[in-house]
Each structure stands twice: as structure tokens, then as C-alpha cells.
Amino acid sequence: MVLLKVEDLSVSFRTFSGLARVVENVEFELGEGESLSIVGESGSGKTTVLRAILGLLPPNAVPRGSILFEGRDILTMSEDEKTRIRGSMITYIPQEPLVALNPFFTIREHFVDRLLFGSKPKIGFREYLEYRKKADEVVEQALKYMRLTRVPDPETVLDYYPMQLSGGMLQRVLIALALVSEPKLLLADEPTTALDVITQLEILELLRKLQEDLGLSIIYVTHDLGVAKAVSDRVIVMYGGHMVEMGGTEDVLLNPMHPYTQGLVEAIPKLVGGEPKGIEGSLPDYLDPPPGCRFHPRCPKAMDICREKRPPGFRVNDRIVYCWLYGDRHE
């Protein structure tokens, strides 16, 4: 069953120097229990897509299109509805675990508030005091999820301040904090980038297992093809705010079709063989993006049509590639 359907999503930002057209025409579907990675270099718009799904775009953002979660459009929801959905159905693991929680409050405080008030858009002072009496009751739920994410000795950790925990441990705590509301969709923004390699593997394994056990749908945003390969069924490759390729993760990585994806895969350092190759040039200027395909100034296989017309998504087997190499050039 389709849980999330993103249709023709575009996000622009009003800036002092004009309108920055960052994300354009992103479209994909996510089924229940499915995992998807959005891969791209820094500034390719992947986090913007994620924040649009969370309904947390900055005030200067202008989104268009639609993001249907269980049939309801997040972009047209009121603030209150979005808060309610974030507190229950859609949840999020941040990028930098070390700064992701308020340093002045214990882990317990964060869990209790999330469990008691997680899906309320607003809370009155009296209501707050009244509910806080139930704090001890909900701690069990917190402990249950901390055990699930394999936080060692959760009873002690509960009374720690964030700064007393290591990055890996905090990430486990944060995953528990995200899952404690029993959500359907988990959005993970570079969940392992700030961690060392060993911890990274442990966290990814944990996420993979949780996904299977709880039937979660997960969207990972990452710049690391290795992470995408380890955790997701499908992958979307983004460049300059456009989707360039979408398909099964293994398939895309073993047999990349879009010249950008090919460049990315070639840039991975290998154990055997010489120096990895990079892609010449840098990301487009969003205030004045190149016409046609946004990758054409850097593309080794660019053709005339690439400079004029944007390539639509061409279906090749189970894959969608946004490149004229695979389409009818005269269309």
C-alpha cells in the first residue's frame, strides 16, 4: 500500500538576491515497510525534500506540488495538523546527535514531554502541570524503546544530560525518542554522518532491523552511497535539486545509467585499482540555474538537446532515468 506520494514537488526560496529555485519536479512513492534513500552531494536539495515532508520548511520557502501522506496533503495542512502528524505518524532522526537535544534537560525530560504532549499542537500551563503528574507512568514506554534500540542500562541513561553520552549512544537514544510514538514513517537525515565507521555500521544495522520488526517505512537522506546500499531497497539520486535517477539500490549502484550517477559511482575509492575519479565542476547556481538539464555543464556526454530542454523521466526496465540518452531525442 502506498504510504507517501510526492507529486511534482518544487520548493523555491525567496532570498535577497531573488528567487532560488532549488527543488523542482520531485516525484516518488513510498510503500508501507519500504525504505528509500535520497542520495546527492551537499546542496543538492535532498534535505529540503525531507523538510518539506516534515512540514518544516523555513518561512521564506515557497513549496508547490503535493505531498500526500495517507491521502492527505501535508503542504496544505494547518500548522496544528502538521504538529499532530509529526508527534505521531511521521518522525525524524537528526543529523548531528550531539547537538540534537537541549543540553539543559535530561533524556528523561525529553522522553516524558514527547510521550505526554507529543501530538498536541499547543499546551496550556494548567494542562501541562496536570499531565506532568503522569510522568512516571510513561517512563516504562521510554525504557521499552530504549531497550529496543539497544541502549545499555537505559534506567541510568534516562537521567543523563545529552552531553554525558557519546554520539553513537545519543543516536540510539534519538532513534528511541523518534520511535516512541509508534510512527509509520521515519525520516533520517544523514543519521550516521557524524559517527565513526564502526558505530555507523551498528546504527545502520539497528535501523534495518527496526524497519523489519516494526514495519516502518524509512526515507534516508545521505551523501554516502555505501549507506544507501546498506539500508535501502530503492534509491533516488538527486543533482542540483532535480531527480536524475531512481531505481532499486543494488541495481542503480552496479549499473548506473545517468552520467551523474556513473560519475558518483566512479568517485568511490576502491580497494583495488587506481585513484577514484571525481566529477569536474560544481553545483549549479540556484538563482540562475542552467537551462535544460541542470547537469549538462558538467556532463561528459552532453548533447545539444540537453542545453535546451529538461529531460523527463524515461522508464528503462524498473528504473526511471532523467536523461536524454535514454529517450526519444526527437520527442
Binding site: Y92, P94, V99, A100, L101, F104, S119, I123
Partner: protein, 341 residues
């Protein structure tokens, strides 16, 4: 290092600071141009009289002996030396004048913290809306206007033209209050004299307002700025992304952090209030330590000057100490780091 050790070690610095301050101010008052004794005795005094009084004040001794005598006097007899201005012991003067200032300053401080924090929160919540713009313009006016001038404006508008509140003084002349603590608001309440309580409160309103205007603006701006800074922090977006109620994030998670920052300035403001009280007390004829300081300063009343400066030094160092300690206590990052080491 444990938190308690830190508190004690930091406390030990206070006597040192005050010791150096005492040497400095003692020296300065003794080398000031002008002869305090001649100023005190007037033009007609004979040389013999001058010598006699010089001896009486101990001014004929070498400086270091005068200094030692000063401390002996303080520790053995609890005396701060004779005042040239009031002709009695300075300690008595201070006991008389200090409560008036403390009453004014503490009231003004409580008032400006409450109003400043509330306005800062309002300003941050409605940032870049008209409420915020209005408050920020008012805040600039608040920090720019000298407080004695604000005091005069208030006297002119509210007391002179409108005639609502008394123009100066601490209470009306027809009212008698038996002094117990020296804090008239408390004394009148203890004695159940509500008529006097109202009268004293009325006299306080204008000086408190004049004194609080600029601190309110400063606290407001600081709270606003640190709240906006908290908004940009990653934890705010995490909490929002996890569906925490908006006002819970604002008033619990963000405000707590912002207030810890504000504690620093609030502590410093206390010293600032005392010094601000100098001008306000002159304008409003408030018989406090600031008023006293101006009078004794003009009279070159060296014993009183030393005492007033030391007193203000003491208040400054102690409030700074409290700020440091509470800052370390309120921020778990500092507190825990201490316990780890």
C-alpha cells in the same frame, strides 16, 4: 573539581579584590587635592584649630599607619571613622541611608526583570511584526535616554502637570513611620499602617520607573536576542520535528536556555542599579546612599568616600559571585564538567 569546591574557591577571591580596592581608594582619598580639614572648619579657622582637627582625624600620621588604624577601628570598634559632613560615625550614616537605596534598587530590579523578560518574549514571539518593531524602537529610546532626564520628565508630566503622584521624597512629611528594618514598605506593613504603606508606595513609583527604564530595555533586548538564537539551534528543530507542542518548545526548552544567558546581565545590572541610583536619588530627593555619596564627595569627606566606595565594591563583587555560581549551577554542561574532573 566539585561544584562546592568551585563555589568556595571563587568566594575566597572576594576578600582579595576588596583588599586591593581598599588600598586604592584609601590612597586616592588621601592624595586628593584640597584640604578636607580646612574645608570642614571654614575660612576663619586658626592654624591651631586646623592642627588639632588634623590630629583628631589621624591625618598627621604616615599613610600606612592611617590605613592600619582604619582597619583596627573597623574590626575592634565597628567604626568607619568620623564623617566631616554629618559629624558622626560613617557606619551610622550608612546604616541610615543604605536601606533606602536597597529598597529602591531591589524593587526596581524585580520590576525590570519581570517586565524585561515578558517584553523580550513577546518581542521574540512576534518578531518582525509591528509589536516587535514598536518594542525595539522603545528599547533604543530606553537605553539612550539618561535616567536622570527620564526622572525629570516623569516628575514634570506625572507630578507637575497631572498631579497624580508625589514629586519627590520617600514619604509625605505628615507621616511618621517607626523604623525597624529601614525598608519602609516592610516597616509600614509590619506595623499595619496601610495609610503610610500607600503613601510610601506612591513615592516609590516614579523613581522605580525612572531607574528601571533602561534595564528593562537591556533585558528585553537580551532575552529577545537569545531566544532568536535558540530558535536557530538544532535542538529546536529536532523538538519541532518530533511534534513537541510549539509553546512547550518556546516556554520550556528555549526560554530556559535564554534565561540562563540573561542571568549574567541581570547580575551585572544590580551593580549598575546602585550606580544609577546616584542620579535618581538626587533628582527625587531620595535619602539613599547615592544621595549621601554625592554630598560627601562634594565635602571631600574622605572617611565616608572610602566607606561608600567599599560598600559599592562589596555589592559588585558579591553579585558577580552570585552570578558566576548560579551560572555554573544552572548550566549542566559546566556543572557536570566540574564533576568529571
Amino acid at each position: 573539581m566539585r561544584f562546592r569546591d568551585y563555589a568556595i574557591r571563587r568566594a575566597l577571591q572576594i576578600p582579595f579584590t576588596l583588599f586591593f580596592l581598599s588600598i586604592l581608594i584609601f590612597y586616592v582619598t588621601r592624595v586628593m587635592p584640597g584640604d578636607p580639614v580646612r574645608l570642614y572648619l571654614g575660612l576663619e579657622a586658626t592654624e591651631k584649630q586646623v592642627q588639632m582637627y588634623r590630629k583628631l582625624f589621624g591625618l598627621d600620621k604616615p599613610l600606612y599607619l592611617q590605613y592600619i588604624d582604619y582597619w583596627k577601628n573597623l574590626f575592634l570598634h565597628g567604626k568607619l571613622g568620623l564623617s566631616l559632613y554629618t559629624s558622626r560615625d560613617v557606619a551610622k550614616d550608612i546604616a541610615d541611608y543604605l536601606p533606602a537605596t536597597l529598597e529602591l534598587v531591589i524593587t526596581a530590579m524585580i520590576f525590570s526583570i519581570i517586565v524585561g523578560v515578558v517584553l523580550g518574549v513577546v518581542s521574540a514571539m512576534y518578531r518582525n511584526k509591528w509589536v516587535d518593531h514598536l518594542l525595539r524602537v522603545a528599547a533604543i529610546a530606553g537605553v539612550s535616554m539618561p535616567r536622570f532626564w527620564v526622572g525629570i520628565l516623569l516628575q514634570l508630566a506625572i507630578s507637575y502637570y497631572l498631579g497624580i503622584l508625589p514629586i519627590s521624597g520617600r514619604m509625605s512629611t505628615n507621616i511618621m513611620v517607626h523604623r525597624i528594618t529601614g525598608f519602609l514598605l516592610i516597616d509600614t506593613l509590619i506595623q499595619g499602617n496601610f495609610h503610610a504603606f500607600i503613601d510610601v508606595s506612591e513615592h516609590m513609583i516614579l523613581p522605580v520607573l525612572a531607574l528601571s527604564f533602561s534595564p528593562i530595555a537591556q533585558i528585553m533586548r537580551l532575552v529577545r536576542a537569545s531566544l532568536l538564537e535558540e530558535m536557530e539551534k538544532p535542538y529546536t528543530s529536532t523538538l519541532r520535528a518530533l511534534g513537541f507542542p510549539r509553546n512547550l518548545v518556546y516556554y520550556k526548552y528555549m526560554l530556559r536556555n535564554a534565561l540562563v544567558v540573561a542571568v549574567t546581565i541581570i547580575g551585572l545590572l544590580f551593580g549598575f542599579f546602585i550606580y544609577g541610583a546616584f542620579a535618581i536619588e538626587m533628582v527625587f530627593g531620595w535619602p539613599g546612599i547615592g544621595w549621601y555619596a554625592v554630598k560627601v564627595g562634594l565635602a571631600k569627606d574622605f572617611n565616608a568616600i572610602v566607606a561608600v566606595v567599599m560598600l559599592i565594591g562589596l555589592i559588585y563583587t558579591v553579585t558577580n559571585y552570585i552570578v558566576d555560581i548560579s551560572y555554573a549551577y544552572l548550566d549542566p554542561r559546566i556543572r557536570l564538567k566540574m564533576e568529571v574532573k
